[in-house]
Symmetry: C2
Subunit: 152 residues, 2 copies
């Protein structure tokens, strides 16, 4: 069977995840550009996706997003220049820094969360609530398995 044919009738995990990732990116770019967030790219959004509104440590963002700490550091520098986050001393450990979203960062985060929730509601309605719940449950296990195999 041709690869293109196989990708169509029985796509592998890599093809499925990258196809969904790229569609979601496109939807988010459009939704966020309408709100003036066109300066940030997918790699910046991947950092903001893991920030707590109260602020997070770079190491936690790196661990949760499965990215290297240096990569997260560079993206945080860029997000700081663009006005989405600022670095503040961590009240619980004065030697550590927290990455805290600014008002602009909080706007982006809540808009992203709202767009994603809307997309998921549409999928769940179309697939069936029960089947979507099972899909997400398996997906969580797959993500967990893969990251257990790949220590950062």
């Amino acid at each position: 069977m041709r690869r293109s044919e196989r990708n169509r009738v029985d796509p592998g995990l890599g093809v499925l995840t990258s196809r969904v990732t790229s569609t979601l990116q496109r939807v988010l770019i459009e939704a966020l550009a309408g709100d003036g967030h066109s300066q940030i790219g997918p790699r910046h959004r991947a950092v903001l996706a893991y920030l707590d509104t109260e602020g997070s440590r770079a190491i936690d963002v790196a661990r949760q997003s499965g990215q290297h700490k240096q990569v997260v550091g560079t993206l945080v520098d860029e997000l700081e220049q663009l006005g989405y986050v600022r670095r503040e001393p961590d009240p619980s450990d004065r030697r550590a820094k927290l990455i805290v979203p600014t008002e602009l960062g909080l706007q982006q985060m809540s808009k992203t969360d709202a767009v994603m929730a809307e997309i998921e509601r549409g999928i769940a309605a179309s697939l069936g609530e029960q089947q979507y719940r099972e899909f997400k449950q398996s997906f969580r296990r797959v993500a967990q398995m893969l990251s257990d195999d790949q220590p950062s």
Copy 2:
């Protein structure tokens, strides 16, 4: 609930796909670097993933990968310079061009397919064959729904 807490206990579709995508990228980078394919990045791999061994048209790669045709064109230029593909006249339409993998391109494609198949076998064994089959089936429907909503 804090976002980081929610991402841990009930991650959304965007978090799950980007987490899995980034882990798979990391595994592939390591596996392919061992075979000397360290010059190509995730965006190049996303093009090679959709190429037929006999060659494919850029428009088909764009449609299947969910990327813009211009983006695919640029990546094909780069892959051509790196020796992974060449452009040839399409025998079925002399005005059109086919992107045909070179020997180096074919090596990369078969190595990638082998690594991904191995990962999927591991997941299926651990999750259970039946459950993994259902997961992939739902995933295909989710990917299809999302791309139906987003015409290129």
